[in-house]
Protein backbone atom coordinates (compact mmCIF):
# COMPACT_ATOMS: atom_id res chain seq x y z
CA UNK A 1 0.00 0.00 0.00
CA UNK A 2 1.36 3.31 -1.15
CA UNK A 3 0.29 5.20 1.93
CA UNK A 4 2.87 3.42 4.02
CA UNK A 5 5.59 5.40 2.26
CA UNK A 6 3.89 8.70 3.07
CA UNK A 7 2.77 8.14 6.65
CA UNK A 8 5.99 6.84 8.15
CA UNK A 9 5.84 5.86 11.80
CA UNK A 10 8.24 8.70 12.55
CA UNK A 11 5.97 11.27 10.93
CA UNK A 12 2.94 10.03 12.83
CA UNK A 13 4.98 10.06 16.06
CA UNK A 14 5.99 13.69 15.56
CA UNK A 15 2.43 14.61 14.61
CA UNK A 16 0.99 13.07 17.74
CA UNK A 17 3.78 14.35 19.99
CA UNK A 18 5.15 17.55 18.47
CA UNK A 19 8.54 18.70 19.76
CA UNK A 20 9.19 22.28 20.71
CA UNK A 21 5.69 23.45 19.92
CA UNK A 22 4.45 26.78 21.30
CA UNK A 23 5.61 30.36 20.87
CA UNK A 24 8.39 31.40 23.23
CA UNK A 25 10.35 34.50 24.18
CA UNK A 26 12.88 35.81 23.42
CA UNK A 27 13.15 35.77 19.64
CA UNK A 28 14.95 37.70 16.91
CA UNK A 29 12.28 37.33 14.22
CA UNK A 30 8.77 36.01 13.85
CA UNK A 31 7.19 35.00 10.54
CA UNK A 32 3.76 33.77 9.49
CA UNK A 33 3.51 31.50 6.44
CA UNK A 34 0.37 30.17 4.79
CA UNK A 35 -0.18 27.48 2.22
CA UNK A 36 -3.18 28.93 0.41
CA UNK A 37 -4.14 25.80 -1.49
CA UNK A 38 -4.80 23.80 1.68
CA UNK A 39 -4.95 26.45 4.37
CA UNK A 40 -2.03 25.15 6.40
CA UNK A 41 -0.51 27.90 8.53
CA UNK A 42 2.52 28.35 10.72
CA UNK A 43 3.80 31.11 12.93
CA UNK A 44 7.48 30.65 13.70
CA UNK A 45 9.99 32.44 15.91
CA UNK A 46 13.74 32.06 15.70
CA UNK A 47 16.34 33.07 18.28
CA UNK A 48 19.99 32.95 17.26
CA UNK A 49 23.10 33.26 19.43
CA UNK A 50 26.87 33.31 19.07
CA UNK A 51 28.33 29.90 19.58
CA UNK A 52 31.51 28.92 21.34
CA UNK A 53 33.06 28.15 17.94
CA UNK A 54 32.62 31.75 16.78
CA UNK A 55 29.74 30.93 14.39
CA UNK A 56 26.05 31.73 14.81
CA UNK A 57 23.96 29.04 16.41
CA UNK A 58 20.24 28.42 16.73
CA UNK A 59 19.18 29.09 20.32
CA UNK A 60 15.48 28.33 19.87
CA UNK A 61 12.81 27.70 17.26
CA UNK A 62 9.26 28.03 18.56
CA UNK A 63 6.07 27.71 16.56
CA UNK A 64 2.31 27.41 16.44
CA UNK A 65 0.49 26.07 13.47
CA UNK A 66 -2.41 24.19 12.07
CA UNK A 67 -2.55 21.78 9.24
CA UNK A 68 -2.17 18.20 8.20
CA UNK A 69 0.12 15.64 9.79
CA UNK A 70 2.81 16.25 7.20
CA UNK A 71 3.06 19.98 7.82
CA UNK A 72 2.86 19.61 11.61
CA UNK A 73 5.36 16.78 11.79
CA UNK A 74 7.72 18.70 9.53
CA UNK A 75 7.80 21.57 12.03
CA UNK A 76 8.50 19.17 14.89
CA UNK A 77 11.34 17.45 13.03
CA UNK A 78 12.71 20.83 12.03
CA UNK A 79 12.79 21.85 15.68
CA UNK A 80 14.84 18.82 16.57
CA UNK A 81 17.26 19.22 13.66
CA UNK A 82 17.93 22.92 14.10
CA UNK A 83 17.99 23.92 17.75
CA UNK A 84 21.58 23.88 19.01
CA UNK A 85 23.09 23.61 15.52
CA UNK A 86 25.17 26.07 13.53
CA UNK A 87 22.96 28.27 11.37
CA UNK A 88 24.93 27.41 8.22
CA UNK A 89 24.50 23.72 8.83
CA UNK A 90 20.75 24.09 9.28
CA UNK A 91 20.47 26.05 6.04
CA UNK A 92 22.24 23.20 4.33
CA UNK A 93 19.57 20.88 5.70
CA UNK A 94 16.89 23.22 4.35
CA UNK A 95 18.47 23.10 0.91
CA UNK A 96 18.82 19.35 0.89
CA UNK A 97 15.25 18.93 2.14
CA UNK A 98 13.93 21.28 -0.55
CA UNK A 99 15.86 19.39 -3.22
CA UNK A 100 14.41 16.10 -1.97
CA UNK A 101 10.84 17.46 -1.94
CA UNK A 102 11.10 18.79 -5.49
CA UNK A 103 12.60 15.57 -6.78
CA UNK A 104 9.26 13.87 -7.55
CA UNK A 105 10.55 10.78 -5.79
CA UNK A 106 13.55 10.48 -8.11
CA UNK A 107 16.12 12.10 -5.81
CA UNK A 108 18.22 9.90 -3.50
CA UNK A 109 18.12 11.63 -0.09
CA UNK A 110 21.40 12.42 1.67
CA UNK A 111 20.74 10.81 5.05
CA UNK A 112 23.90 12.23 6.58
CA UNK A 113 22.58 15.75 6.07
CA UNK A 114 18.89 15.11 6.61
CA UNK A 115 18.83 12.90 9.66
CA UNK A 116 15.24 12.15 10.71
CA UNK A 117 13.92 14.40 7.94
CA UNK A 118 14.63 11.54 5.56
CA UNK A 119 11.31 10.08 6.69
CA UNK A 120 9.63 12.65 4.43
CA UNK A 121 11.16 11.16 1.28
CA UNK A 122 7.83 9.57 0.37
CA UNK A 123 6.08 12.95 0.27
CA UNK A 124 8.02 13.92 -2.83
CA UNK A 125 5.85 11.54 -4.83
CA UNK A 126 2.74 13.55 -3.94
CA UNK A 127 3.03 16.96 -5.63
CA UNK A 128 -0.02 18.26 -3.73
CA UNK A 129 1.61 17.48 -0.38
CA UNK A 130 5.11 18.80 -1.06
CA UNK A 131 4.05 22.27 0.02
CA UNK A 132 2.82 20.86 3.34
CA UNK A 133 6.22 19.36 4.07
CA UNK A 134 8.01 22.55 3.02
CA UNK A 135 5.85 25.03 4.92
CA UNK A 136 7.82 24.99 8.18
CA UNK A 137 11.15 24.85 6.40
CA UNK A 138 10.41 27.85 4.21
CA UNK A 139 9.20 29.74 7.27
CA UNK A 140 12.41 28.82 9.06
CA UNK A 141 14.61 30.02 6.22
CA UNK A 142 12.68 33.27 6.08
CA UNK A 143 12.93 33.79 9.83
CA UNK A 144 16.69 33.15 9.83
CA UNK A 145 17.19 35.72 7.07
CA UNK A 146 15.20 38.25 9.08
CA UNK A 147 17.19 37.45 12.21
CA UNK A 148 20.51 38.46 10.68
Amino acid sequence: MIAESLYQELILEHYKHPQGRGLREPYDAEVHHVNPTCGDEITMRVKLKDGADGGRHVADVSYEGQGCSISQAAASVLYELTVGSRVEDTLQVVDEFTRLMHGRGQVEPDEAVLGDAVAFAGVAKYPARVKCALLAWMAYKDAVVRSS
Partner: protein
Protein backbone atom coordinates in the same frame (compact mmCIF):
# COMPACT_ATOMS: atom_id res chain seq x y z
CA UNK B 1 -33.12 1.23 -4.30
CA UNK B 2 -36.00 2.05 -6.59
CA UNK B 3 -36.85 -0.69 -9.01
CA UNK B 4 -36.67 1.30 -12.26
CA UNK B 5 -33.24 2.69 -11.45
CA UNK B 6 -30.51 0.20 -12.29
CA UNK B 7 -27.30 1.64 -10.92
CA UNK B 8 -25.21 -1.27 -12.17
CA UNK B 9 -26.38 -0.62 -15.72
CA UNK B 10 -25.63 3.08 -15.32
CA UNK B 11 -22.14 2.37 -14.02
CA UNK B 12 -21.37 0.51 -17.23
CA UNK B 13 -21.92 3.75 -19.14
CA UNK B 14 -19.04 5.41 -17.29
CA UNK B 15 -15.81 3.81 -18.49
CA UNK B 16 -13.66 5.38 -15.80
CA UNK B 17 -15.61 3.60 -13.05
CA UNK B 18 -14.17 0.27 -14.09
CA UNK B 19 -10.65 1.62 -14.09
CA UNK B 20 -8.10 0.02 -11.81
CA UNK B 21 -5.91 2.52 -10.00
CA UNK B 22 -2.15 1.98 -9.46
CA UNK B 23 -1.55 -0.80 -6.97
CA UNK B 24 -4.69 -2.63 -8.07
CA UNK B 25 -7.11 -0.42 -6.14
CA UNK B 26 -10.61 -0.11 -7.55
CA UNK B 27 -11.85 3.45 -8.06
CA UNK B 28 -14.54 4.66 -5.66
CA UNK B 29 -15.46 8.09 -6.92
CA UNK B 30 -17.20 10.22 -4.30
CA UNK B 31 -16.17 13.60 -5.68
CA UNK B 32 -18.86 14.44 -8.23
CA UNK B 33 -19.61 17.77 -6.57
CA UNK B 34 -16.15 18.77 -7.68
CA UNK B 35 -16.58 17.40 -11.18
CA UNK B 36 -18.62 14.49 -12.45
CA UNK B 37 -17.50 11.64 -14.65
CA UNK B 38 -18.63 11.34 -18.29
CA UNK B 39 -20.63 8.51 -19.85
CA UNK B 40 -19.60 6.91 -23.12
CA UNK B 41 -22.58 8.65 -24.74
CA UNK B 42 -20.97 12.03 -24.07
CA UNK B 43 -17.42 11.00 -24.90
CA UNK B 44 -18.54 9.40 -28.15
CA UNK B 45 -20.69 12.33 -29.22
CA UNK B 46 -17.64 14.58 -28.91
CA UNK B 47 -15.31 12.17 -30.66
CA UNK B 48 -17.77 11.59 -33.48
CA UNK B 49 -18.30 15.31 -33.95
CA UNK B 50 -14.59 15.98 -34.25
CA UNK B 51 -13.97 12.99 -36.49
CA UNK B 52 -16.78 13.61 -38.96
CA UNK B 53 -18.72 16.86 -38.59
CA UNK B 54 -16.53 19.58 -37.18
CA UNK B 55 -16.54 23.09 -38.58
CA UNK B 56 -16.86 26.55 -37.11
CA UNK B 57 -20.41 27.59 -36.31
CA UNK B 58 -22.49 30.51 -37.46
CA UNK B 59 -20.05 31.69 -40.06
CA UNK B 60 -19.79 28.93 -42.58
CA UNK B 61 -22.23 27.99 -45.32
CA UNK B 62 -20.61 24.66 -46.15
CA UNK B 63 -21.74 21.21 -45.09
CA UNK B 64 -19.47 20.95 -42.05
CA UNK B 65 -20.32 24.47 -40.95
CA UNK B 66 -24.03 23.68 -41.20
CA UNK B 67 -23.68 20.40 -39.35
CA UNK B 68 -21.69 22.00 -36.56
CA UNK B 69 -24.06 24.93 -36.31
CA UNK B 70 -27.02 22.60 -36.16
CA UNK B 71 -25.36 20.51 -33.45
CA UNK B 72 -24.33 23.59 -31.48
CA UNK B 73 -27.71 25.29 -31.67
CA UNK B 74 -29.39 21.95 -31.10
CA UNK B 75 -27.54 21.73 -27.80
CA UNK B 76 -29.01 25.10 -26.89
CA UNK B 77 -32.50 23.73 -27.54
CA UNK B 78 -31.78 20.73 -25.35
CA UNK B 79 -30.45 22.80 -22.47
CA UNK B 80 -33.40 25.19 -22.73
CA UNK B 81 -35.86 22.32 -22.53
CA UNK B 82 -33.90 20.71 -19.68
CA UNK B 83 -34.28 23.71 -17.39
CA UNK B 84 -37.69 24.85 -18.62
CA UNK B 85 -36.44 28.08 -20.17
CA UNK B 86 -39.28 30.02 -21.81
CA UNK B 87 -37.06 30.61 -24.84
CA UNK B 88 -33.96 28.98 -26.33
CA UNK B 89 -32.57 32.47 -26.87
CA UNK B 90 -32.25 32.87 -23.13
CA UNK B 91 -29.51 30.22 -22.98
CA UNK B 92 -26.02 31.73 -23.16
CA UNK B 93 -23.10 29.34 -23.40
CA UNK B 94 -20.13 30.41 -21.31
CA UNK B 95 -16.91 28.62 -20.43
CA UNK B 96 -18.09 27.61 -16.96
CA UNK B 97 -20.43 28.70 -14.18
CA UNK B 98 -17.86 31.22 -13.00
CA UNK B 99 -17.95 33.09 -16.31
CA UNK B 100 -21.75 33.14 -16.17
CA UNK B 101 -21.65 34.71 -12.69
CA UNK B 102 -18.98 37.22 -13.76
CA UNK B 103 -20.92 38.10 -16.91
CA UNK B 104 -23.86 39.23 -14.81
CA UNK B 105 -21.63 41.00 -12.29
CA UNK B 106 -19.89 42.92 -15.09
CA UNK B 107 -23.28 44.05 -16.39
CA UNK B 108 -23.64 46.35 -13.42
CA UNK B 109 -22.05 49.75 -13.11
CA UNK B 110 -21.00 49.82 -16.75
CA UNK B 111 -21.27 53.36 -18.12
CA UNK B 112 -22.19 51.89 -21.52
CA UNK B 113 -25.52 50.73 -20.11
CA UNK B 114 -28.20 53.26 -19.20
CA UNK B 115 -30.75 50.82 -17.79
CA UNK B 116 -31.43 51.88 -14.18
CA UNK B 117 -31.56 48.27 -12.98
CA UNK B 118 -27.90 47.78 -13.88
CA UNK B 119 -26.64 51.07 -12.47
CA UNK B 120 -24.28 50.52 -9.54
CA UNK B 121 -22.41 52.96 -7.37
CA UNK B 122 -21.85 54.11 -3.79
CA UNK B 123 -25.01 53.54 -1.77
CA UNK B 124 -26.10 50.58 -3.89
CA UNK B 125 -25.94 47.13 -2.36
CA UNK B 126 -25.27 43.59 -3.51
CA UNK B 127 -26.47 40.73 -1.31
CA UNK B 128 -24.95 37.25 -1.28
CA UNK B 129 -24.72 34.57 1.41
CA UNK B 130 -22.05 33.21 3.70
CA UNK B 131 -22.36 29.77 2.09
CA UNK B 132 -21.34 30.83 -1.41
CA UNK B 133 -18.70 29.25 -3.57
CA UNK B 134 -15.85 31.70 -4.27
CA UNK B 135 -17.22 32.00 -7.80
CA UNK B 136 -20.31 33.69 -6.35
CA UNK B 137 -18.32 35.86 -3.94
CA UNK B 138 -15.30 37.25 -5.74
CA UNK B 139 -17.13 38.61 -8.84
CA UNK B 140 -19.34 40.67 -6.51
CA UNK B 141 -16.39 41.81 -4.39
CA UNK B 142 -14.68 43.00 -7.56
CA UNK B 143 -17.87 44.74 -8.67
CA UNK B 144 -18.18 46.47 -5.30
CA UNK B 145 -14.55 47.56 -5.51
CA UNK B 146 -14.94 48.90 -9.04
CA UNK B 147 -18.12 50.82 -8.33
CA UNK B 148 -18.04 51.74 -4.65
CA UNK B 149 -21.17 49.67 -3.96
CA UNK B 150 -21.51 47.69 -0.74
CA UNK B 151 -21.46 43.90 -0.46
CA UNK B 152 -23.66 42.33 2.22
CA UNK B 153 -24.55 38.75 3.01
CA UNK B 154 -26.97 36.38 4.72
CA UNK B 155 -25.45 34.50 7.65
CA UNK B 156 -25.66 30.72 8.03
CA UNK B 157 -27.15 28.92 11.04
CA UNK B 158 -25.29 26.33 13.10
CA UNK B 159 -27.07 23.51 11.32
CA UNK B 160 -26.07 24.85 7.93
CA UNK B 161 -29.23 26.62 6.84
CA UNK B 162 -29.56 30.11 5.46
CA UNK B 163 -30.45 32.51 8.27
CA UNK B 164 -33.29 34.55 6.81
CA UNK B 165 -34.27 36.21 10.10
CA UNK B 166 -32.76 39.50 8.94
CA UNK B 167 -34.16 39.29 5.42
CA UNK B 168 -35.99 42.60 5.51
CA UNK B 169 -33.00 44.49 6.92
CA UNK B 170 -30.60 42.88 4.48
CA UNK B 171 -32.57 43.17 1.28
CA UNK B 172 -33.75 46.76 1.03
CA UNK B 173 -34.44 49.51 -1.47
CA UNK B 174 -30.67 49.87 -1.76
CA UNK B 175 -30.28 46.29 -3.02
CA UNK B 176 -29.72 45.96 -6.77
CA UNK B 177 -29.17 42.22 -6.87
CA UNK B 178 -29.30 39.18 -4.63
CA UNK B 179 -27.11 36.31 -5.82
CA UNK B 180 -27.24 33.05 -3.92
CA UNK B 181 -26.44 29.42 -4.24
CA UNK B 182 -29.35 27.07 -4.94
CA UNK B 183 -27.69 24.03 -3.38
CA UNK B 184 -24.57 24.46 -1.28
CA UNK B 185 -21.47 22.66 -2.53
CA UNK B 186 -20.34 22.07 1.06
CA UNK B 187 -23.43 21.68 3.23
CA UNK B 188 -25.71 20.07 0.71
CA UNK B 189 -28.38 22.56 1.82
CA UNK B 190 -31.00 23.46 -0.74
CA UNK B 191 -31.94 27.08 -0.12
CA UNK B 192 -35.49 28.44 -0.08
CA UNK B 193 -35.81 30.71 -3.09
CA UNK B 194 -39.36 31.98 -2.65
CA UNK B 195 -39.03 34.21 0.44
CA UNK B 196 -35.85 35.84 -0.85
CA UNK B 197 -37.39 36.36 -4.27
CA UNK B 198 -40.56 37.83 -2.77
CA UNK B 199 -38.58 40.33 -0.74
CA UNK B 200 -36.36 41.17 -3.73
CA UNK B 201 -39.44 41.84 -5.85
CA UNK B 202 -40.78 44.09 -3.12
CA UNK B 203 -37.69 46.28 -3.25
CA UNK B 204 -37.05 45.97 -6.98
CA UNK B 205 -33.85 43.93 -6.78
CA UNK B 206 -32.83 41.29 -9.30
CA UNK B 207 -32.21 37.70 -8.20
CA UNK B 208 -29.54 35.33 -9.47
CA UNK B 209 -29.22 31.67 -8.54
CA UNK B 210 -25.96 29.75 -8.63
CA UNK B 211 -27.44 26.41 -9.63
CA UNK B 212 -24.13 24.66 -10.28
CA UNK B 213 -24.96 22.02 -7.68
CA UNK B 214 -28.71 21.73 -8.23
CA UNK B 215 -29.20 21.46 -12.00
CA UNK B 216 -27.12 18.23 -12.17
CA UNK B 217 -29.08 16.59 -9.36
CA UNK B 218 -32.77 17.53 -9.45
CA UNK B 219 -35.33 18.85 -11.89
CA UNK B 220 -34.79 22.61 -12.01
CA UNK B 221 -37.40 24.70 -13.78
CA UNK B 222 -36.23 28.28 -14.15
CA UNK B 223 -39.68 29.55 -15.07
CA UNK B 224 -41.21 27.95 -11.97
CA UNK B 225 -38.41 29.34 -9.79
CA UNK B 226 -39.20 32.80 -11.06
CA UNK B 227 -35.72 34.25 -10.60
CA UNK B 228 -33.90 36.45 -13.11
CA UNK B 229 -30.63 34.63 -13.75
CA UNK B 230 -29.39 31.08 -13.27
CA UNK B 231 -25.80 29.85 -13.70
CA UNK B 232 -24.59 26.27 -13.96
CA UNK B 233 -21.78 24.27 -15.48
CA UNK B 234 -21.37 21.35 -17.86
CA UNK B 235 -18.66 19.38 -16.11
CA UNK B 236 -20.75 18.73 -13.00
CA UNK B 237 -23.68 17.26 -14.96
CA UNK B 238 -21.90 14.41 -16.78
CA UNK B 239 -20.92 16.89 -19.50
CA UNK B 240 -17.50 18.08 -20.59
CA UNK B 241 -15.24 20.75 -19.15
CA UNK B 242 -15.04 24.02 -21.03
CA UNK B 243 -18.73 24.91 -21.08
CA UNK B 244 -21.13 26.59 -18.69
CA UNK B 245 -24.56 28.11 -19.00
CA UNK B 246 -26.14 31.41 -18.12
CA UNK B 247 -29.89 31.54 -18.30
CA UNK B 248 -31.46 34.97 -18.02
CA UNK B 249 -34.80 36.57 -18.73
CA UNK B 250 -34.68 37.74 -22.31
CA UNK B 251 -35.75 41.23 -21.44
CA UNK B 252 -32.85 41.56 -19.00
CA UNK B 253 -30.29 39.99 -21.30
CA UNK B 254 -31.39 42.50 -23.93
CA UNK B 255 -31.04 45.41 -21.52
CA UNK B 256 -27.56 44.38 -20.38
CA UNK B 257 -24.44 45.81 -22.02
CA UNK B 258 -22.26 43.40 -23.98
CA UNK B 259 -19.54 41.69 -21.93
CA UNK B 260 -16.84 40.18 -24.14
CA UNK B 261 -16.46 41.83 -27.55
CA UNK B 262 -15.52 40.06 -30.75
CA UNK B 263 -16.61 37.94 -33.65
CA UNK B 264 -20.14 36.48 -33.57
CA UNK B 265 -21.50 38.88 -30.93
CA UNK B 266 -21.89 41.72 -33.41
CA UNK B 267 -24.46 42.84 -35.92
CA UNK B 268 -22.31 45.36 -37.78
CA UNK B 269 -18.87 46.76 -37.06
CA UNK B 270 -17.28 50.00 -38.14
CA UNK B 271 -13.87 51.10 -36.90
CA UNK B 272 -15.42 53.51 -34.42
CA UNK B 273 -18.60 51.74 -33.33
CA UNK B 274 -20.56 48.51 -33.46
CA UNK B 275 -24.07 47.23 -33.13
CA UNK B 276 -24.66 43.92 -31.44
CA UNK B 277 -26.31 40.66 -32.32
CA UNK B 278 -29.56 39.66 -30.65
CA UNK B 279 -29.32 37.48 -27.53
CA UNK B 280 -27.94 34.94 -26.88
CA UNK B 281 -25.23 35.64 -29.46
CA UNK B 282 -24.55 39.09 -28.01
CA UNK B 283 -22.84 37.31 -25.13
CA UNK B 284 -20.95 34.68 -27.10
CA UNK B 285 -17.87 36.43 -28.45
CA UNK B 286 -15.47 34.43 -30.56
CA UNK B 287 -15.57 30.78 -31.45
CA UNK B 288 -17.76 29.14 -28.82
CA UNK B 289 -17.17 25.77 -27.13
CA UNK B 290 -18.60 23.87 -30.09
CA UNK B 291 -17.56 20.31 -29.33
CA UNK B 292 -18.30 20.98 -25.67
CA UNK B 293 -21.85 22.06 -26.49
CA UNK B 294 -22.28 18.82 -28.42
CA UNK B 295 -21.07 16.97 -25.33
CA UNK B 296 -23.36 18.95 -23.06
CA UNK B 297 -26.30 18.21 -25.34
CA UNK B 298 -25.49 14.52 -25.09
CA UNK B 299 -25.21 14.88 -21.30
CA UNK B 300 -28.66 16.44 -21.11
CA UNK B 301 -30.04 13.64 -23.27
CA UNK B 302 -28.40 11.11 -20.97
CA UNK B 303 -29.73 12.64 -17.77
CA UNK B 304 -33.18 13.00 -19.30
CA UNK B 305 -33.21 9.38 -20.43
CA UNK B 306 -32.29 8.17 -16.95
CA UNK B 307 -34.78 10.66 -15.52
CA UNK B 308 -34.01 13.55 -13.20
CA UNK B 309 -36.60 12.40 -10.71
CA UNK B 310 -35.11 8.92 -10.61
CA UNK B 311 -31.65 10.39 -10.15
CA UNK B 312 -32.88 12.60 -7.35
CA UNK B 313 -34.61 9.66 -5.68
CA UNK B 314 -31.48 7.50 -5.95
CA UNK B 315 -29.32 10.22 -4.45
CA UNK B 316 -31.78 10.74 -1.64
CA UNK B 317 -31.63 7.07 -0.72
CA UNK B 318 -27.85 7.11 -0.89
CA UNK B 319 -27.71 10.24 1.26
CA UNK B 320 -29.97 8.73 3.90
CA UNK B 321 -27.82 5.60 3.89
CA UNK B 322 -24.60 7.61 4.15
CA UNK B 323 -25.84 9.91 6.92
CA UNK B 324 -26.84 6.83 8.87
CA UNK B 325 -23.61 4.95 8.24
CA UNK B 326 -21.39 7.90 9.15
CA UNK B 327 -23.03 8.08 12.58
CA UNK B 328 -21.03 5.03 13.59
CA UNK B 329 -17.74 6.94 13.21
CA UNK B 330 -16.85 8.20 16.68
CA UNK B 331 -16.48 11.94 16.95
CA UNK B 332 -17.42 12.66 13.34
CA UNK B 333 -18.84 16.17 13.11
CA UNK B 334 -21.25 16.79 10.29
CA UNK B 335 -21.07 20.27 8.76
CA UNK B 336 -24.52 20.75 7.25
CA UNK B 337 -28.05 19.52 7.83
CA UNK B 338 -28.42 16.10 9.39
CA UNK B 339 -31.99 15.65 8.14
CA UNK B 340 -32.94 14.86 4.57
CA UNK B 341 -35.30 17.79 4.06
CA UNK B 342 -34.01 20.27 1.49
CA UNK B 343 -30.59 18.78 1.19
CA UNK B 344 -28.71 17.04 -1.58
CA UNK B 345 -26.10 14.30 -1.56
CA UNK B 346 -23.15 16.40 -0.45
CA UNK B 347 -21.86 15.49 2.99
CA UNK B 348 -19.01 17.37 4.66
CA UNK B 349 -17.51 16.50 8.00
CA UNK B 350 -14.49 16.69 10.28
CA UNK B 351 -12.81 14.05 12.43
CA UNK B 352 -11.29 15.08 15.75
CA UNK B 353 -7.53 15.71 15.57
CA UNK B 354 -7.19 14.38 12.06
CA UNK B 355 -6.72 16.88 9.31
CA UNK B 356 -8.92 16.39 6.23
CA UNK B 357 -5.87 16.23 4.00
CA UNK B 358 -4.72 13.18 5.90
CA UNK B 359 -8.19 11.68 5.70
CA UNK B 360 -8.34 12.21 1.93
CA UNK B 361 -4.85 10.98 1.36
CA UNK B 362 -5.32 7.72 3.22
CA UNK B 363 -8.74 7.06 1.69
CA UNK B 364 -7.22 7.51 -1.74
CA UNK B 365 -3.90 5.76 -1.15
CA UNK B 366 -5.25 2.74 0.64
CA UNK B 367 -8.75 2.29 -0.74
CA UNK B 368 -8.92 4.23 -4.00
CA UNK B 369 -11.69 6.38 -2.50
CA UNK B 370 -11.77 9.85 -4.09
CA UNK B 371 -13.24 12.49 -1.80
CA UNK B 372 -12.50 16.19 -1.68
CA UNK B 373 -10.66 17.76 1.22
CA UNK B 374 -10.06 21.42 1.96
CA UNK B 375 -12.40 24.41 1.94
CA UNK B 376 -14.04 23.45 -1.39
CA UNK B 377 -13.82 27.02 -2.67
CA UNK B 378 -16.01 28.13 0.23
CA UNK B 379 -13.47 29.49 2.68
CA UNK B 380 -15.78 32.01 4.36
CA UNK B 381 -18.24 29.23 5.18
CA UNK B 382 -15.44 27.25 6.81
CA UNK B 383 -14.32 30.33 8.75
CA UNK B 384 -17.92 30.65 9.97
CA UNK B 385 -17.74 27.11 11.38
CA UNK B 386 -14.29 27.79 12.82
CA UNK B 387 -12.58 25.07 10.82
CA UNK B 388 -9.89 25.32 8.16
CA UNK B 389 -11.14 22.40 6.11
CA UNK B 390 -13.55 19.50 5.82
CA UNK B 391 -13.68 16.14 4.13
CA UNK B 392 -16.48 16.12 1.57
CA UNK B 393 -18.32 13.18 0.06
CA UNK B 394 -20.53 14.07 -2.91
CA UNK B 395 -22.81 11.50 -4.46
CA UNK B 396 -24.22 11.10 -7.95
CA UNK B 397 -26.32 8.75 -10.04
CA UNK B 398 -23.53 6.19 -10.43
CA UNK B 399 -22.74 5.76 -6.72
CA UNK B 400 -23.81 2.76 -4.64
CA UNK B 401 -24.37 1.86 -1.02
CA UNK B 402 -21.42 -0.54 -1.33
CA UNK B 403 -19.22 2.48 -2.02
CA UNK B 404 -20.51 4.14 1.13
CA UNK B 405 -19.72 0.96 3.07
CA UNK B 406 -16.18 1.15 1.70
CA UNK B 407 -15.98 4.78 2.81
CA UNK B 408 -16.98 3.87 6.34
CA UNK B 409 -14.37 1.10 6.42
CA UNK B 410 -11.84 3.60 5.11
CA UNK B 411 -12.65 6.11 7.82
CA UNK B 412 -12.21 3.45 10.50
CA UNK B 413 -8.78 2.74 9.07
CA UNK B 414 -7.89 6.45 9.05
CA UNK B 415 -8.78 6.64 12.72
CA UNK B 416 -6.64 3.62 13.44
CA UNK B 417 -3.59 5.16 11.71
CA UNK B 418 -3.93 8.31 13.76
CA UNK B 419 -5.28 6.62 16.87
Amino acid sequence: MSTTFDVERIRKDFPILSRELPGGRPLIYLDSGNSSQKPTQVIEAMREHMAAHYGNVGRALHVLGSESTEAYEGARDKVAAFIGAPSRDEIVFTKNASEALNLVAYSFGNPICTDERFAMGPGDEIVITEMEHHSNIVPWQLLAQRTGATLRWFPVTDDGRLDLSGLDELVTERTKIVSMVHQSNVLGTVNPVAPVLARAREVGALVMLDASQSVPHRKVDVAALGVDFVAFTGHKMVGPSGIGVLWGRRELLEAMPPFLGGGEMIEAVWMDRSTYAPVPHKFEAGTPPIVEAVGLGAAVDYLTAVGMDAIHEHEKELTAYALGALKEIDGLRLIGPSDLADRGGTISFTLPDIHPHDVGQILDDVFGIAVRVGHHCARPLHLRFGIPATTRVSLYLYNTTAEIDALVRGLHHVKKVFG
